[in-house]
């Protein structure tokens, strides 16, 4: 398997989910793996379960398939409303947010979290995505940036809902005000089954937190040279999420506890890049 990532920062990661189990602490009955397959940067369509090879702690698993089209999408926008996006960046952020909402399909839901030094849930998950759009219009930037606290809230809220959860964090600055330490929030994200993307303006002060967050959850950081690219970046990100494969299997021949390392590959496609989460934590 060779890596030909056009999204320069894609790193292999893996996803896991204790599907149909109310809490994570009970025995794993089924594991969901969210997989992106790209070839020369383009998502690959038309694969079947038989094309995938999944190893759970090295043990090959029998994989079934959950079509991504049949799942509703939960898109949680976590948007930076701090002083540093004042002016043009915020206007572009707003139009980009609306652009992603326009491309949602019936049945999809969206929510809006904003963060300055304070995290606010502006709109809980709703199928009426227009409401999210209206809330975006009301954002007035002020204060410091608590991107870590804001991400944490988005991950926890996203994880609580059924469906495919996509968290998109937009921030152009580094954290200046969070209470929570970055590593604790990364740990929370690793345990959740959300996929987090980040949209970040290139910044000499590199957003390590966002990079690590997206790596651990199987998403990616979209860096834009100018804030003007945001609309296009959001749309590309959503398309990528829609073209994922959701694999499902019941773990066989592995322990029901502890950290499970996942390896996902596509048989017979040497040029494909497979992006999935690096593993999952099962049991207490």
């Amino acid at each position: 398997m060779t890596r030909v990532g056009v999204l320069a920062v894609l790193v292999s990661a893996a996803a896991a989910r204790a599907a149909q189990t109310p809490t994570f602490s009970t025995t794993v009955q089924a594991v969901r793996v969210d997989v992106l397959v790209t070839e020369e940067g383009r998502p690959v369509a038309g694969l079947t379960p038989a094309d995938f090879e999944v190893r759970d702690n090295g043990v090959p698993q029998a994989v079934s398939f959950v079509s991504s089209e049949k799942l509703s999408l939960n898109v949680i926008l976590a948007l930076d409303a701090s002083e540093s996006v004042h002016g043009e960046p915020l206007e572009h952020l707003k139009s980009a947010g609306r652009a992603i909402l326009e491309r949602l399909q019936p049945g999809d839901r969206a929510a809006l979290i904003t963060f300055s030094h304070e995290v606010a849930l502006r709109q809980p998950l709703t199928p009426e995505v227009d409401r999210v759009g209206r809330e975006i219009g009301r954002i007035e930037p002020t204060g410091e940036t608590a991107v870590i606290d804001g991400t944490y809230a988005a991950v926890v809220l996203g994880d609580a809902d059924v469906g495919r959860d996509l968290v998109i964090v937009f921030s152009d600055g580094v954290d200046t005000a969070s209470w929570l330490p970055g590593e604790r929030v990364l740990d929370a994200a690793r345990r959740s089954d959300v996929v987090a993307y980040a949209v970040s303006v290139r910044n000499p002060d590199r957003p390590e937190f966002l990079r690590e967050l997206t790596r651990l959850t199987g998403g990616s950081v979209l860096e834009v040279d100018s804030t003007r690219d945001l609309g296009a970046a959001f749309v590309r990100l959503l398309q990528e999420f829609r073209q994922r494969y959701l694999l499902n299997y019941s773990p066989q021949g592995v322990s029901s506890e502890g950290w499970h390392e996942l390896k996902v590959a596509v048989k017979g496609r040497r040029r494909a890049t497979v992006t999935a989460r690096a593993g999952y934590a099962a049991g207490p």
């Binding site: 701090s82 540093s84 410091e144 809230a153 809220l157 580094v174 209470w179 929570l180």
Partner: protein, 1112 residues
């Protein structure tokens, strides 16, 4: 308004043009008044325009400000509106509509000076006249309609039942089919609810009548009743067209109500909540029974239409006859309300003496015409003449305290405040034993209303105060009469003139709603007045957590004269409470409240006191954690808190006291508003001008010596702590000006020490080794020497020199501090070669860079020259403490901390501030700034890397603690710094010790204790977590959450901790709690957001200390 002796009739006429707009500018000649068709001479004519003091547009959904005092000093007198809610004639399904319509009127159409009352016909919710929107809305909320089912429908059902019954009865036995319709038994087709219907109609009309009568004595105010009703649908004719038995009772009821309303000049506006209706009514309202048998009994579909028409007509009649307007068949209630408000705000008052003035109790028809085309008049259509017995309506007697004068009895009979003698009243309920409450009643008579006669060398007066407490049913439950006969010396007379007279009483009442009516009069000027106060005494046994009313006292108010005071109340505050809610800038307010907490098991109670300005900015906060052992029986947790007003500018403020048991829900809170007012006209003018310095408003000095002279004068004129003209002037000077000035001032200082000092050379204080040749002419030199000898006048040369330097430093400090200005050069002038810069930043990013003005450096240079040794001088020390605290508080860093510590190495305050400065430099925001800032070549931002700054902070904190072990703030911060440096075990040790010190301080009502304890617990939580002690971490975060119930950070911490323990549900609910917490604008909700500035919180008092140290 009717006078009983002389028959004089007054009519209010509301005139509109074709577009429905009120018409102004008509004259007496435009009107014609007819009584029984006979034209009358208009003897009284006035165009009345009530200024509408509209309530400030409150943001959508914002609650009105809570007031806890009532006054009768209301400026322009507004209108009186009685909202009569007729539940006996409102369908239960439309209860919500009535509530909404009434609320809409109250919220959008009442002006601030209007009073309104809610009267419900069935007694569900009643509220006496008040301007308090919240109370009105509460009463409206209790409304539930319970109109009887439609009479037509009931009759149809009766007929149906009757038919069924007849069919099932055994017939004559001949086997013939039964007829379709069987002849009714006499009387059975009647409405079974006939009697109830009559009763309901009479009850509604009697209430209307009573309300109209209640308006009777009020003069000079436009009075209106808004009747929310679906109308009286009693059909006075029965099915055969004959008059129903009880019809006369219903008709008489309506007639009487109209008579009383017209006699008192009360217009009745009727509002039909049904909105537009089709003649047959909606299917939902009046379902036609399947059988059509009713037609044979005179009941058919038209009967519903008739019923509807009757009900609407009753509303029209009531309105038209009384000069009101009927809003039936409409759903544009906003327009309706606008019309009511307009009609009550701009109208014409017409009066005449009727030619025929017999006192026969007869109804007289009235007609008002306007002799202009296109104008419409609304006026009452008649009145009832008084009867032969005079029909004088005495106010119902009130059981006021014995010996109460007749004048005060008359005032006490009225449910609303009467202006005259200005006064303010506050009543606060406290729990006593056995469910009874003790109510502290504070009555303050304004000094401006009191007159005195001279008795020898004393000012004398007799003042009578009487009060009654009336319950919801109008019964007097308590009352007393208080007498004061002050004989005052001249200074005391002066004091009373300024601050008035106060009476404090205590009454005992069971839970319930009351109206406290207080009336007072003074004997010399004969002034009298009254105040009505709406009091709710909560049932403290009803819930496990309750709070008493709030008493306020203030330093200034405690000086005013209190001839009658209840000792028990005074003891609570250590001063008599005040009913005034305007405090002068710089006053200190004490609040007292009690928290009754019966929750189990034993727990701590966090009590948070918060003051926010009108725009929501928090200006004061104090949190205390009270241990269970503090709880007294009775009295619960007694909470007394001092609120200094020193830092508060004039404006309106909200005080909120919240009690939160550490068990979690529920919480209890009290709110009230108060005003801060300027002390005097001069202060008021300065307060208005302080925040901004208009550029170039003072002429710039022409020469260097002129400038020095101007500066010396400014130093003398400047009042420390004020943004006066002197501060304004120096603020406008450029960095170059200041540099020259520093040299010139040094020269003056030298001349003060040695009058023979040669003026040939100038020493720039910042480069002492390199004197320059002075650019002065011989004339300049003479002036300089003269200025120096003038400057010496106040005291000895040594003291004059120090005085000049210190006052000069304070002048430039105030130029920045009191002007809320930044240390950036004014646009007026920049230096040719800037040597100092300031970086502007926000959210970790540079937002600009400017040349520094140099005021801090100038002031510091002056103080360096204080003799004999600046490091032994308290003013110099205080200056460093005040300006570094100020700079850190406002993030306008002076960077004077390290120098301050060099000068005063043993000063714990300065060591702490030096530590916090380095901790700030180590914060993510400043580290981010350091990485991203762009500076010109050779300029350095001077921010070390994170660990270097943390280690510097640690060093300073340790030094501070070595000097003063009890400086807990340094210990809390040391713990935080150690943890960030990865030394978790020592961090826990420091934080534990700090938390234990603070817990006892917080319990002892230390204002700072709660704040610092919050930080200590949060940091301790993080440290425990790092060590894997999750239970301890959880306990610490929980205590922090209890101290600041609105702070999200502890909730996020608890959530994250729950997730660590795989408890997703708990993690989610804690996040939801964090996001649901009420958002306050700014950073007031969570002390964590202020951690980088909070160390400067004492800057205002530090500055005050600095000013005081200068002496007179």
């Amino acid at each position: 308004v009717f006078r009983t002796e002389v028959q004089h009739v007054e009519v209010d006429a509301f005139v509109t043009d074709a577009g429905g707009k009120a018409v102004a500018g008509l004259t007496r000649d435009d009107f014609q008044v007819f009584e029984e068709g006979v034209r009358q001479d208009i003897t009284v004519f006035a165009e009345v325009s009530v200024p509408l003091d509209r309530v400030d547009a409150a943001p959508d959904g914002a609650a009105p400000l809570p007031r806890d005092v009532a006054t009768n000093d209301e400026g322009v007198r507004g209108r009186l509106f009685a909202l009569v809610l007729d539940e006996l004639h409102t369908d239960a399904r439309r209860s919500g509509d009535v509530r909404r319509l009434a609320a809409q009127f109250i919220q959008r159409h009442l002006a601030r000076n209007d009073l309104a009352a809610i009267v419900s016909v069935g007694g569900s919710g009643t509220q006496g006249f008040t301007g308090d929107e919240r109370r009105l809305l509460e009463a409206v909320e209790r409304f539930t309609g319970r109109k009887l089912p439609s009479a037509t429908l009931e009759r149809l059902r009766t007929i149906e039942r009757q038919q069924d019954m007849l069919r099932s009865e055994p017939g004559p036995g001949d086997g013939r089919p039964r007829p379709e319709v069987i002849a009714p038994r006499p009387g059975l087709e009647r409405d079974p609810h006939d009697l109830e219907r009559v009763h309901a109609a009479r009850a509604s009309m009697e209430v209307l009548e009573r309300v109209a009568r209640g308006f009777g004595d009020v003069e000079g105010r436009r009075k209106a009743i808004l009747l929310f009703s679906e109308g009286i649908d009693y059909d006075t004719l029965d099915v055969m067209g004959a008059t129903q038995r009880n019809a006369s009772a219903v008709v008489a009821g309506v007639r009487d109500a109209i008579a009383v309303a017209t006699r008192h000049g009360v217009a009745v506006y009727t509002v039909d909540p049904r909105g537009p209706l089709s003649p047959v009514g909606s299917a939902e309202d009046m379902p036609m029974p399947a059988a059509t048998v009713g037609a044979d009994f005179g009941v058919d579909s038209r009967s519903f239409g008739r019923e509807l028409r009757i009900s609407q007509d009753s509303l029209r009649t009531l309105a038209e006859q009384t000069g009101g307007i009927a809003f039936v068949d409409t759903n544009d209630f906003t327009a309706a309300y606008e019309r009511i408000v307009r009609a009550s705000s701009r109208y014409y008052l017409l009066g005449y003496y009727p030619a025929d003035s017999r006192r026969d109790g007869a109804y007289r028809r009235l007609e008002v015409r306007v002799a202009r085309r296109g104008l419409a008049v609304v006026a009452r259509e008649g009145y009832v003449r008084p009867g032969p017995d005079g029909e004088k309506e005495e106010p119902p007697p009130v059981a006021a305290a014995a010996e109460t004068s007749p004048e005060l009895r008359a005032l006490l009979a009225s449910p609303w405040s009467q202006p005259g003698l200005p006064m303010a009243v506050n009543a606060a309920a406290f729990e006593e034993r056995d469910g009874e409450a003790a109510v502290a009643l504070t009555i303050e008579l304004a000094g401006k209303g009191l007159s005195f006669r001279q008795e020898e060398d004393r000012a004398a007066s007799d003042i009578e105060v009487s009060f009654v407490v009336v319950d919801a049913r109008g019964r007097v439950r308590a009352g007393d009469r208080l007498l004061a006969r002050p004989r005052l010396s001249a200074p005391t007379r002066e004091l009373v003139g300024r601050s008035g007279l106060r009476f404090v009483q205590r009454v005992h009442l069971p839970p319930g709603r009351y109206q406290v009516r207080v009336a007072a009069r003074e004997s010399v000027g004969g002034q009298r007045g009254s105040v009505s106060y709406e009091l709710e005494v909560p049932d403290y046994r009803a819930g496990p957590l309750g709070m008493s009313g709030v008493l306020l006292a203030s330093r200034d108010a405690s000086r005013s004269l209190t001839p009658v005071v209840d000792e028990a109340v005074q003891d609570l505050l250590a001063a008599p409470p005040t009913a005034g809610r305007s405090f002068v800038v710089g006053d200190a307010v004490t609040a007292y409240t009690e928290v009754y907490d019966a929750l189990a098991p034993a727990h701590d109670l966090a009590i948070t006191t918060r003051v926010a300005s009108a725009d929501g900015r928090e200006v004061f906060r104090e949190a205390r954690l009270r241990p269970w052992s503090d709880r007294a029986e009775p009295g619960g947790f007694r909470h007394r808190v001092e609120i200094p007003l020193a830092g508060l500018g004039p404006g309106r403020y909200l005080l909120q006291i919240t009690a939160t048991p550490t068990l979690g829900e529920p919480t209890s809170s009290r709110e009230l508003t108060f005003d801060v007012v300027p002390a005097s006209p001069r202060d008021a003018a300065e307060a208005r001008h302080a925040p901004s310095f208009p550029a170039g408003s003072l002429p710039r000095p022409r020469s260097r010596i002129d400038r020095l002279e101007a500066w010396l004068a400014a130093v003398e004129r400047h009042e420390p702590g004020r943004a006066d003209a002197a501060a304004q002037m120096v603020r406008s000077w450029t960095p170059d000006d200041l540099q020259d000035l520093a040299a010139d001032v040094a020269l003056i200082a030298a001349l003060l020490r040695d009058p023979q000092y040669p003026v040939m050379w100038l020493v720039d204080p910042s480069r002492p080794g390199r004197p320059r040749r002075a650019p002065y002419t011989a004339d300049d030199e003479r002036r300089l020497r003269a200025l120096a000898s003038d400057a010496v006048k106040p005291c000895s040369p040594e003291c004059a020199r120090n005085r000049l330097l210190k006052r000069g430093a304070v002048l430039h400090t105030d130029a920045l501090v009191r002007g809320a200005a930044e240390e950036a050069a004014s646009p007026a002038g920049k230096a040719a070669n800037p040597a100092r810069f300031v970086i502007r930043f926000s959210d970790g990013q540079q937002s600009g860079m400017e040349e520094a003005a140099g005021h801090w450096e100038f002031a510091r240079t002056l103080l360096d020259n204080v003799a004999p040794n600046p490091t032994r001088d308290d003013t110099v020390r205080l200056w460093y403490v005040a300006v570094t605290a100020y700079g850190q508080l406002h993030e306008r860093h002076t960077r004077l901390e390290d120098r301050a510590v060099d000068l005063f190495p043993e000063d714990a305050d300065l060591l702490l501030l030096a530590g916090t400065f380095h901790e700030v430099l180590a914060s993510p925001r400043m580290q981010s700034l350091a990485r991203s800032v762009h500076l010109p070549a050779g300029v350095s931002h001077g921010i070390g890397d994170e660990r270097a700054e943390l280690r510097e902070a640690e060093k300073m904190y340790r030094r501070a603690l070595a000097v003063r072990t009890g400086l807990t703030e340094a210990r809390v911060r040391l713990g935080r710094v150690l943890q960030r440096l990865g030394r978790t075990e020592p961090a826990v040790r420091e934080l534990r010790q700090a938390a234990s010190d603070l817990s006892s301080r917080a319990a002892k009502a230390d204002a700072d204790g709660g704040l610092l304890l919050y930080y200590a617990e949060m940091f301790l939580g993080a440290a425990h977590e790092a060590l894997g002690r999750y239970d301890s971490a959880k306990a610490s975060y929980g205590r922090a959450a209890a101290l600041y119930p609105e702070a999200p950070s502890p909730r996020l911490a608890l959530s994250q901790l729950a997730l660590r323990g795989h408890d997703r549900a708990q993690a989610l609910s804690a996040v939801q709690a964090a996001l649901r917490l009420p958002a306050h604008p700014g950073d007031s909700a969570d002390p964590w957001w202020r951690y980088h500035v909070v160390q400067g919180r004492k800057a205002p008092s530090r500055l005050d200390e600095l000013y005081r140290s200068l002496g007179p």
